[in-house]
């Protein structure tokens, strides 16, 4: 306390320095509380978004995993069974989205720490760094699966790739739903990163 009064008010009588340093300290506390209140609100919103994103990613992974269809009739050229493991892009999707969901569960304690201590920088920085890595993983899985789904719906004239959705309607619908769910999770992640960036700002 004596150090603070020396650096702020050099050469004034001691009573004045004591009261002014007291006022400065009080202002500092109020400012910290105001910044901490807004950051705590952001941290609570971050926690709720994480819970929602966990639900969405687990849903996406499970829908893709259980997408299966067996055709009742016999066709000459196409196989009459379709599952997620027939296409490597879908296998990658299931594994990547499962990793994303488990990361979200593991990041919940860090989010709670930012609620309890809103002015701490280290947990927010860790969350932002790992959120960025995981959003890249999520986007790549969703985009790869989306390109295969687009191909399955439309086929391709130049390469003679036939649209398989015309035979496997249910499978196609399940797989498309999983891709849409993963894309919603990407939006959640972008909002989470923006929240972390705003909350990192030092006033």
């Amino acid at each position: 306390m004596a150090k603070e009064s020396t650096t702020i008010d050099v050469g004034e009588p001691s009573t004045v320095t004591k009261s002014s340093s007291h006022v400065v300290k009080k202002k500092g506390f109020v400012a910290a509380a105001a910044g901490g209140g807004a950051k705590r609100g952001l941290a609570i919103f971050d926690f709720l978004l994480r819970l929602a994103a966990i639900g969405v990613t687990i849903g996406a992974a499970s829908v893709m995993y259980t997408a299966q269809e067996t055709l009742p009739f016999f066709t000459q050229f196409l196989q009459f069974q379709a599952g997620y493991d027939d296409l490597p892009a879908f296998q990658y999707f299931v594994i990547a989205v499962a990793i994303v969901a488990s990361y979200l569960v593991l990041s919940l304690p860090f989010s709670i720490v930012t609620i309890v201590r809103p002015l701490a920088v280290a947990p927010r920085l860790i969350l932002l760094i790992f959120d960025t890595l995981v959003v890249t993983l999520n986007t790549s899985a969703a985009a790869a699966a989306a390109s295969i789904v687009y191909l399955a719906h439309n086929g391709n004239q130049s390469t003679n790739w036939l649209p398989i959705c015309q035979q496997f309607g249910d499978f196609c619908q399940n797989v498309s739903t999983a891709v849409v769910a993963a894309s919603i999770a990407i939006l959640f992640f972008i909002v989470l990163i923006i929240i972390s960036a705003i909350a990192l700002k030092r006033h």
Binding site: T7, D86, L128, A143, S147, L162, K201
Partner: protein, 187 residues
């Protein structure tokens, strides 16, 4: 009094030192942006100039291959072009960060835009990667034929252009991390 003056000098030296660190981070960001720009524009050009015509005539398969024929590759070229344009325009903002002291709000804006561009670029790169994998290996269950067996140089080019794009994704991640670290520092 003398100790007080010494403390003032010490704290101002501390501010100077961390100001130097922030400046170094800003310079590194500027350099990384330039490298990422060259990577994305190179990938876009390499993919966009693919064109192969087979010399022989086959009954079922078309004998011309271009990036236009596959929509995922078109999306890849567009995404890379957009991200390279963004990187060039963000160079001015990165330069402002080198010279200016109070850069917090502009850094937040840069992080938000960088994250959006990262999403776009990684989406383009991985959808093109899925199609390139399919072109190399085909798929038995869906009767999708591996076109790389006919179109060799086309396949090589589209596979090579993916590399630059993925390097640019890693650089964008590094840029976001550097911005976050610079944002969270005291000065």
């Amino acid at each position: 009094m003398k100790s007080g003056q010494a403390e003032i000098v010490e704290t101002s030296k501390g501010i100077q030192k961390s100001g130097l660190m922030s400046r170094r981070i800003a310079i590194l960001e500027f350099i990384l942006r330039i490298v990422a720009f060259f990577n994305t524009i190179g990938s876009a050009i390499l993919m966009g100039t693919t064109h192969e015509t087979l010399p022989f005539f086959t009954q079922f398969i078309r004998f011309q291959a271009e990036y236009n024929d596959l929509p995922a590759l078109t999306f890849f070229v567009v995404a890379n072009a957009v991200v390279s344009g963004y990187l060039i325009m963000s160079l001015t903002l990165a330069f402002v960060h080198i010279v200016k002291r109070k850069t917090q709000n502009t850094r937040i804006l840069l992080i938000v835009l960088d994250v959006a561009m990262l999403g776009l670029l990684s989406a383009g790169a991985s959808s093109a990667a899925a199609i390139v994998y399919l072109a190399h290996n085909g798929n038995n269950k869906t009767n999708w034929f591996a076109i790389c067996q006919q179109f060799n140089s086309f396949c090589e080019r589209i596979s090579g252009s993916l590399i630059g794009s993925f390097i640019a994704v890693v650089l964008l991640i590094l840029l976001i991390l550097l911005s976050a670290i610079a944002l969270s520092r005291r000065h």
